[in-house]
């Protein structure tokens, strides 16, 4: 989904051809295609590093892990060092999404027990060397309740002070619910990304989670609306993004359209932001990552309008069909008129 990035120095003017913004590189504009923004630069990192972001939702299955994987890899592709932590004690699946399940040998539980060091538990992605994965535990291991929050805080502190430098982003994939796993995951976080879908059950849980986050001291909360169907919104069978924002009162980080490519990318272990050409959902994730870097939010959303006009060849086909039908009708009607 396309959106506009307002610069702090330039006031937002939606759909305004960028006459005031000069591109850094020569931009070959076509007569019919015109980009609204002409930013040919790396996003500027805002805030203090490392930025510890927890990705949560409350309700399960809305796309937290998918968001973590895709946003994390987008950040890595933009040149930032990222550590993604799967904070789900017992139901680990971020490694599956990234295709790294066969490389996870040690987890935070082993680090706590002294079986390995923290750097040995980090799994570096071979596709992007500045992206690392850390899992809290293996499915059959146990972590004491109430101890997880402290442990995760120690992990974040240790990552800050490591030799190769502090990572720019630490993304924590929060488990579903508001139980001990949720408390563990939000403990070291400074900001939160709330993932929700346009249905009332998800919104209710999201509202509750937002309240808990604010009670715990996390004020920088932004929302990602996932699995959006613009056709259903147009047919008024689904809540619009603006309705959701009105209900929750949170700034928008991104709007991700429903895309079957998500399932294929999960099966392949290749997040869909790496697809060439990019899909709509992949583009949306990249834009959300951009806004996360600059601590920005969406200022406009896309609303589906009229259906697309057919292309030249289909028009030509329609024209031929129209002529043929016209001749047929004429051959039948004209004699009737003559007889009369």
């Amino acid at each position: 989904m396309l959106s506009l990035i307002p610069s702090p120095t330039i006031q937002f003017k939606p759909l305004f051809p960028s006459k005031t913004i000069k591109p850094l590189k020569p931009f070959s504009s076509k007569s019919s295609i015109q980009s609204v923004l002409q930013w040919n630069r790396k996003p500027e990192l805002a805030g203090e590093t490392p930025r510890v972001v927890v990705i949560t939702s409350g309700k399960g299955g809305v796309g937290k892990t998918t968001t973590t994987a895709n946003v994390g890899l987008s950040l890595a592709r933009l040149g930032f060092s990222v550590v993604a932590i799967d904070a789900d004690v017992g139901l680990r699946n971020l490694d599956l999404l990234l295709g790294l399940e066969n490389r996870v040998n040690y987890t935070v539980v082993e680090v706590l027990n002294g079986d390995c060091r923290l750097d040995q538990a980090l799994v570096r992605d071979k596709r992007w060397s500045n992206f690392e994965l850390l899992c809290i535990s293996k499915p059959r291991s146990k972590l004491p309740l109430g101890f997880g929050g402290k442990a995760l805080t120690w992990v974040v502190e240790a990552l800050k002070s490591r030799q190769e430098g502090s990572p720019d982003f630490i993304l924590i994939d929060c488990p579903a619910g508001i139980d001990a796993g949720f408390i563990t995951a939000i403990t070291p976080a400074n900001e939160a990304v709330l993932v929700t879908t346009p249905d009332i059950t998800s919104l209710r849980d999201a509202d509750r989670v937002t309240g808990l986050l604010e009670c715990d001291g996390i004020r920088d909360i932004k929302m990602v609306v996932n699995r959006v169907r613009t056709d259903m919104i147009k047919g008024e069978d689904m809540m619009s993004v603006l309705d959701i924002q009105e209900m929750l009162g949170l700034a928008l980080l991104g709007v991700i359209p429903e895309d079957s490519e998500v399932i294929r990318s999960t099966n392949r272990g290749y997040p869909l932001v790496l697809n060439k050409p990019p899909t709509l959902a992949g583009l949306a994730f990249e834009q959300a990552a951009w806004r996360l870097v600059e601590q920005d939010s969406m200022k406009a959303v896309m609303v589906e309008e009229e259906p697309k006009r057919r292309g030249f060849f289909s028009f030509f086909g329609l024209g031929v069909l129209a002529v043929t039908v016209g001749l047929e009708v004429g051959s039948v009607v004209f004699p009737i008129l003559l007889i009369r």
Binding site: L4, P14, S32, V36, R117, R127, A151
Partner: protein, 370 residues
């Protein structure tokens, strides 16, 4: 004969006017093109009369070029039978029409054949693309997440790979650095001339600005602070335990007895765990502890007379050596740490050197206790 004419009249009554009109149109058309139509009309008439004549014996062919029977155009014939004859004559056969309008028929045939060819080529390309891109479930089989025998995917994979030379690790998904590529400046997104619409992937969108204001955000925050009163739990107690007097009851989290991951925090030394997390170099604590415990055990055995006897007694030397054959490098001096080489780099711990260490915690705990 009369009956035959009658039959012809009935069957051709409807197109009678059409045929005459068509003939007129054709006449006008030929006139407009600067051609004389009389010859054509007379030819038609010649042909028509012949057709009528031969209708009694319908098996005979209607030869267009037979000009033997030339009947003068008698436009003044008012006999209805003759009129109907004219009607019949005015209807040229298809072959004759086709032969006259060869150019248009050629064009029609060419366009039809081209359309058919396009459809066939497109179907072929679509079918081929299906073979080139098998479903992603095969990737699950490749990753070992799904059994191939259940779905018979392996066979399909082999077949398709053999057909099209498709490699499972195909370069469809490339991971190139973005490097200043702007996700908001994508050529797939087309902005309309009026700047009020956007076109993406076959759909047209309109931009709707966000309506949330700072005041509304503040109102929502206040609402949530009233609705959700929550304090971070600092103490986890099992069901049945007493709450300590200094503890706020709101910060107590009760652990159900049947919780699958319920363990008490007393089992874990927090300071030790914290040190383990912050450790950056050297052997992890547990591995080192197990190794030290094993070393102590070996030293203890050496000090015992039994081990000395084993060492001195040459007849038992084979047994002694055999015990250490599993660990060939343990013949190195015991004071040297086998886990750290000369450069100081850490080697991964070997499971054979600490066979019981990974299995249970009890042995390490026993060794750690003073």
């Amino acid at each position: 004969m009369a009956s035959i004419w009658t039959l012809q009249f009935h069957s051709l009554y409807f197109p009678h006017r059409v045929s005459s009109t068509v003939a007129k149109l054709r006449t006008e058309f030929t006139l407009s093109q600067g051609r004389l139509s009389l010859n054509r009309w007379s030819t038609n008439r010649k042909f028509q009369l012949k057709a009528v004549r031969d209708s009694a014996s319908s098996n005979e062919d209607q030869n267009l070029e037979s000009g033997k029977v030339a009947v003068a155009a008698d436009t003044k014939t008012k006999d209805p039978v003759a009129k109907f004859q004219e009607t019949l004559i005015s209807l040229p056969p298809v072959a004759f029409v086709m032969k006259r309008h060869t150019r248009s028929s050629f064009a029609i045939g060419l366009s039809l054949s081209t359309a058919f060819l396009v459809i066939v080529v497109r179907a072929f390309i679509v079918r081929r693309s299906r073979y080139n891109r098998p479903g992603s479930v095969e990737d699950l089989v490749r990753r070992g997440q799904l059994r191939s025998d259940r779905r018979d995917v392996k066979h399909l994979v082999t077949k398709s790979a053999h057909k099209c030379g498709y490699l499972l690790k195909s370069p469809i998904y490339s991971s190139r650095p973005l490097k200043y590529e702007d996700p908001f400046n994508n050529p797939l997104v087309k902005v309309g001339k009026s700047n009020s619409t956007m076109e993406m992937c076959g759909k047209v969108y309109r931009l709707a600005p966000i309506t949330l204001t700072k005041e509304q955000q503040t109102i929502h925050q206040k609402r949530r602070s009233r609705a959700y009163q929550w304090k971070r739990p600092t103490i986890f107690l099992k069901e049945g335990d007493l709450i300590p007097p200094d503890v706020d009851p709101d910060t107590v989290r009760w652990i159900p007895a049947n919780h699958p991951f319920a363990t008490t925090a007393n089992d874990i030394d927090e300071d030790l765990a914290q040190n383990n997390v912050y450790q950056k170099h050297g052997v992890p604590f547990r591995i080192r502890a197990e190794h030290e415990a094993l070393q102590k055990k070996l030293e203890a055995l050496q000090n015992e007379q039994k081990l000395n006897k084993l060492v001195i007694d040459s007849s038992n030397a084979k047994d002694f050596e055999r015990a250490f054959k599993l660990n060939p490098k343990s013949e190195e001096p015991l004071d040297q740490n086998p886990f750290v080489n000369q450069s100081g780099d850490l080697r991964p711990p070997r499971p054979d050197q600490a066979p019981n260490g990974y299995d249970s915690n009890s042995s390490s705990e026993e060794m750690q206790k003073p």
